[in-house]
């Protein structure tokens, strides 16, 4: 049953009781929170995701709760917890939903070692996927949001889940995290996109989340094969240009972007070496989203 079909009251009460099972890609998160901002944002941004009431099994049992300190009367804060363990410092209560999103990423990045986990966005056309690894601030999420609304299917904005045995990449179809100037850029260029209310003054500046397109959620269980590796770089002006990244450099860059390269060792090296041997890696500099979109459209498998 899609989350959006629950009434706000049902959703909020299941969350408060910690009974909400939310499925995103291969994972079920069981979420507990009494924060209204969490319920509101889940309803807005996860409307198409399947939910279950009180699921018998969940991969991660998470909670966004107020810590029991005196400060809760003065300036309320929230903690993210996985089975009682809080990996982060408390954040101001208005950031509760952003904290949940970061916490869910943390759960996967720190525990899902059945996959080779890369810090990268993944988009697909049919079964052919492009990997967008990029350092923070390079405009990866902006481009990912744009492409996800212009002919590409969103698999993931933050985490590429690669099955080392088959080389296939799995998606999560979760909301895209936009920061600072990117929020207005996306509002202007994608008027149809569903964005939540931006939250100011987080450790990453002002953040907003963009709902994944319904089609991406519907097809999330369809894995894809990585055909291209593109590192996008936004430049304020100038012509779009691309440059081929030599394979050894591409391999080193992917190793740098892997969350669990050290955990998987040889398995990770083999999977990444195989990836760079069949997927060309390109550096893409662009000034305008529509120009970049056309360039992506012209990619050939």
């Amino acid at each position: 049953m899609p989350l959006g079909t629950l009434s706000f009251e049902t959703l909020a009460s299941r969350l408060a009781q910690g009974r909400l099972g939310l499925r995103t890609g291969p994972f079920t998160f069981r979420i507990a929170s009494k924060e209204a901002v969490v319920a509101e944002n889940l309803r807005l941004l996860y409307a198409h995701h399947p939910v279950t009431d009180n699921p018998p099994f969940a991969d991660f049992h998470v909670a966004v709760v107020r810590p029991s300190s005196l400060r809760r009367w003065l300036r309320p804060q929230v903690d993210f917890r996985l089975d009682g363990y809080a990996p982060f410092l408390s954040l101001p209560a208005p950031q509760a939903f952003a904290l949940l999103e970061w916490g869910m990423n943390w759960c996967i990045a720190n525990h899902a070692h059945q996959y080779l986990l890369l810090h990268a966005a993944v988009l697909a056309r049919g079964d052919d996927a492009v990997l967008l690894p990029a350092p923070p601030g390079a405009g990866k999420s902006t481009l990912c949001a744009y492409l996800a609304h212009r002919g590409w299917r969103l698999l993931s904005d933050e985490l590429a889940l690669i099955d080392p045995a088959s080389g296939r990449v799995f998606g999560l179809a979760r909301p895209i995290n936009l920061k600072n100037a990117a929020i207005d850029v996306i509002r202007d260029s994608l008027p149809e996109a569903v964005l939540n209310t931006p939250v100011p003054d987080t450790k990453k500046g002002t953040v907003a989340h963009l709902a994944p397109p319904a089609g991406a959620v519907a097809e999330v269980d369809r894995p894809a094969r990585l055909r291209w590796i593109v590192t996008p770089r936004y430049r304020a002006d100038g012509e779009l240009y691309t440059e081929r990244i030599p394979r050894p450099e591409a391999l080193a860059m992917l190793i740098d972007n892997a969350f669990n390269y050290d955990v998987l060792g040889t398995t990770a090296f083999t999977a990444l070496a195989d990836l760079v041997s069949h997927a060309p890696a390109l550096d893409l500099c662009y000034a305008r989203l529509d120009e970049a979109g056309e360039w992506f459209q012209a990619l050939k498998a």
């Binding site: 089975d83 363990y85 899902a112 070692h113 059945q114 669990n260 050290d262 955990v263 998987l264 060792g265």
Partner: protein, 359 residues
């Protein structure tokens, strides 16, 4: 038919980590809780090692990823610890000190079956006290550096403790604990580590690497748990003891007799009695008769909270208080009262100063 819900006692959990047949019979809600508890207790690798012995289709599909993840983590840690053992051996070789491994690293090197899949936090070694300065200097030359830079902490370790402040490798980030005594210098009893070093046994296939003799290995493990104040790994450490009892008494029917004689020599009867009692009581460890024990219901009640996984589903309102009492008890065993008052007072003051008050 409605199944009886799994009671999550330490014994039930330990049996699930050991016996494939029990795993194969679990329903989905039990798997859900088992994976959560195993993750929190840092024993997912042990669970993976046991689940591995089942045919792949005996596990519910939703659990397979977690088992694969536990296996990957355990393999990674074993690889890292083996590498670390080799680096330490080479470093100590330069000054002619043998590498004697303690705890997890020793179980791994000796390939003790109950520890397959065990996770590690650091590598513990035992060196002669007379060589401690040389060992520290040598490890520093090979890339390890001390971690506690606060002058108080340095003095705490060097004046009172049984080990150097933990040393972290500058490039690899791995931590080695260099022990020169079994217990803190300030503890009520102070077993002589020299005879433990003398009786250390070489590890087959790893020239220059030693582990303690079976009896000493168990006594060391028992002593540590008995004196441990922060029992974050309490359940795992109890499992180690259970594994040591089972493994060594299975291999050598006279093991328990030797163990008791050795405990008497080293004045470690109290930790041994504690280990036998808690293993028998909480895990049902066979072959550890405890009939001679005097009942200590309060201590047992405290350990009920401290020796199970730290999971909110298992906690009761007094769990936090019970753990705090054991923290104080461990310090009480570790140092005389005036030192204890001074040390705990100092720690509380540091915590208060560091606490982030709203500015």
């Amino acid at each position: 038919m409605k199944r009886k819900p799994q009671p999550w006692t330490p014994a039930a959990l330990a049996a699930l980590l050991r016996e494939t047949q029990q795993l194969a019979a679990l329903d989905l809600p039990s798997w859900d809780m088992l994976i959560r508890l195993a993750r929190r207790a840092n024993v997912l690798g042990l669970l993976a090692a046991t689940a591995e012995r089942l045919p792949a289709d005996a596990l519910p599909p939703c659990c397979r990823g977690h088992i694969a993840a536990g296996r990957a983590l355990a393999a990674r840690q074993a690889r890292a610890v083996r590498w670390e053992i080799e680096c330490l051996r080479k470093a100590l070789d330069t000054i002619g000190v043998s590498l004697v491994l303690l705890k997890g690293a020793a179980y791994l090197a000796a390939d003790l079956p109950f520890a397959r899949g065990r996770f590690f936090s650091d590598v513990d070694i035992l060196v002669p006290r007379s060589r401690i300065a040389e060992v520290e200097a040598t490890l520093m030359r090979h890339g390890w550096a001390t971690t506690h830079h606060d002058a108080y902490d340095q003095r705490y370790y060097r004046q009172w403790m049984h080990e150097l402040p933990p040393m972290r490798h500058l490039r690899r980030g791995t931590v080695v604990d260099v022990h020169h005594r079994i217990l803190p210098l300030t503890a009520r009893y102070d077993p002589d580590p020299a005879t433990m070093l003398e009786q250390a046994v070489p590890v087959a296939g790893l020239p220059g690497v030693f582990v303690l003799s079976p009896a000493d290995m168990l006594l060391h493990s028992a002593t540590h748990l008995y004196h441990e104040g922060e029992l974050t790994h309490g359940f795992r450490d109890l499992l180690d003891l259970d594994g040591l009892f089972r493994h060594f008494s299975h291999n050598d029917p006279g093991f328990l007799t030797k163990l008791h004689a050795r405990a008497a020599t080293l004045h470690l009867q109290a930790p041994l009695a504690f280990a036998r009692h808690q293993c028998a009581r909480l895990l049902g460890t066979p072959a550890v008769s405890t009939t001679a024990d005097t009942p200590r219901p309060l201590v047992d009640a405290l350990y009920d909270h401290a020796l199970r996984p730290l999971h909110p589903a298992l906690d009761s309102p007094c769990s936090g208080f019970a753990r705090w009492l054991l923290y104080v008890r461990a310090h009480w065993l570790r140092m005389p009262p005036h030192l204890l008052a001074w040390h705990l007072g100092r720690k509380a003051l540091m915590r208060w100063r560091q606490s982030d008050f709203p500015s």
